[in-house]
Amino acid sequence: EDLQDVRLRLAWIAGGVDAPVFMAAEKGYFADAGLDVEIVDGNGSTGTIQAIGSGDFDIGIAGMGALAQAQQAAGASDIISVAGLLQKDPTSIISLEGSGIAEPKDLEGKRLGTDAGNLEDGMIRAFAEANGVDFDKIEVIIINGGADRVALLKGDVDFINGWANPDGDKVAAQRPIEEPMLFADYGVNLIGSSVIVKKDWLAENGDAVKGFLVALQKAKADVAADPEAARDIFMEHRPDADPEGILQEIKVMQKYEHTAASEGKPYGWVAPSDVELTISLLEKYSGMKPGLTPDDIYSDAYLPVLTQ
């Protein structure tokens, strides 16, 4: 009917994290908000930010850390984040059981297999520095495209930095692993997935954005209440996904939705202190130009305050 067409671009290939989006679409929450949302998979935050900036998509899901860098390094200051979906970074140190890696200090003298992009965002250095590890004593081997997991299993490297879930789980399915060390638990947290929009589009479509976030919050509650149903809905939209994996992901991802500072707050709400930490970490370890303020990258003005 007279629903507003909205194009949504995910951060990555659709996964358990995106379950609320499909739930909202399926349950008609988007339609209730007057929206007809088309959901398109992404291939990383960079692509999504560019797709929003070019106007090809209206709403995107991308890392807030990536958005900060896009603003400082490439002038993407016409884009802002309006909600944080994955505020606790799942990035962790993953190693096989018996690797002798139980605490950060153990990393010295070991071999790290890492994605070039993951290395370059500087958080592994931040993690090392924050925990008194001499990064120069770690041998870095760059392995992209997911091949680092194979290298870990094969013993070509001693540890990798990757998402504790689901990546750690997938390694664990092959061979037992040590408990992943979450960077966030060691004082190094970049805010992950967030909802981003272009500012000028936002100015004209504030209500649409609000409606979108309302729908997402409602759907999120449904997902939490019935993960199996959420999984089934997901599988309808993305039949090639692995149903077991998705279910596990849906369940486990809930623990990354909030940081200590935003715990108990509505889904999507981001604590200013977390944004500040993200900015300062990037400035310190990722060579980001200084001068960015939290207001530049995040606004909570469109988030409906619902009590859960």
């Binding site: 290939i13 094969k154 399915a173």
Partner: protein, 272 residues
């Protein structure tokens, strides 16, 4: 006696050997390779996440066929359509390079330059220019596969001897006729060489395009199977792609033989 063919042999041993001979030798090599692969995996106990055994992959192909096949059709569609477009672009382009100094010296080098741009690196641009549907896939297939067609067609069109051109002009052939009746037939064997090269590249192109952003196709399957660490499924898709590529190449080899009957004996005598 050398010139008497071995028809006698075939006549002597009738059914079994004849049957075996009807199977292309490459199939035997493939079977041998797969056997070797299977044995190596079993003997060296290579874990599945590094290299699944052919038997495992085959099982995966069968059990996942209901999803593999529709996705393969999508990829095949992209390949064939992109390839067709590439031919439609490459041949006229090659013609213009042969006929126009401007194209040859001012435009062609830029096209060469564009060939070395890694498509994956400019993916966001491509997506933003060509949308997120099937168009960017087709564009990438074209970009990857048109170049060998251009190069070989240029080579072929230039193979026309001055004598032939003299003949053509003496008959009052116009540019059009010179092209259709002299240059093109002469170039055909070269063009087919380019087309055969382009088949492999068009397949790669479709997969790369699906890596960049897609929600169906074998490239997409490889990507999500990779994310799920489902290596057997990844290999199942890869094997399917390779088979598609080889069939496409075989088709073109056959087409070549049909389209260039006068060359046959030259190729045969090529041995030696």
């Amino acid at each position: 006696m050398a010139s008497v063919p071995d028809t006698t042999y075939i006549a002597r041993r009738p059914s079994l050997k004849q049957l075996a001979e009807r199977i292309p030798p490459a199939v035997w090599t493939l079977i041998a390779l797969l056997l070797f692969w299977e044995l190596m995996v079993r003997w060296r106990e290579i874990p599945q996440y590094i290299l699944p055994a052919p038997s495992v992959i085959l099982a995966e192909i069968i059990s996942y066929w209901h999803r593999l096949w529709p996705n393969a059709l999508v990829t095949m569609g992209e390949i064939l359509f992109g390839f067709a477009c590439a031919v439609c672009i490459a041949v006229p382009l090659a013609v213009s390079v042969v006929y126009s100094q401007f194209m040859a010296r001012a435009v062609f080098p830029i096209i060469v330059m564009s060939q070395t741009i890694p498509k994956v690196a400019i993916a966001p641009l491509l997506l933003s220019w060509f949308g997120y549907g099937i168009t960017p896939k087709i564009v990438i297939v074209i970009m990857l596969s048109f170049f060998p067609i251009v190069i070989n067609t240029v080579m072929g069109l230039r193979a026309t001897t001055p004598e032939m051109l003299h003949l053509a002009r003496s008959m009052g052939a116009n540019g059009w006729q010179i092209f259709w009746k002299f240059r093109l037939p002469k170039a055909l064997p070269f063009v087919f060489g380019g087309l055969k090269l382009a088949t492999a590249l068009s397949v790669i192109g479709a997969i790369v395009a699906e890596f960049i952003g897609a929600d169906k196709g074998l490239g997409y399957l490889i990507l999500i199977a990779g994310a799920n660490f489902d290596i057997a499924r990844q290999f199942a898709s890869i094997i399917l792609i390779s088979l598609m590529g080889m069939s496409f190449f075989g088709l073109l080899t056959w087409l070549e033989r049909v389209a260039i009957p006068w060359r046959e004996s030259v190729e045969l005598s090529g041995k030696g």
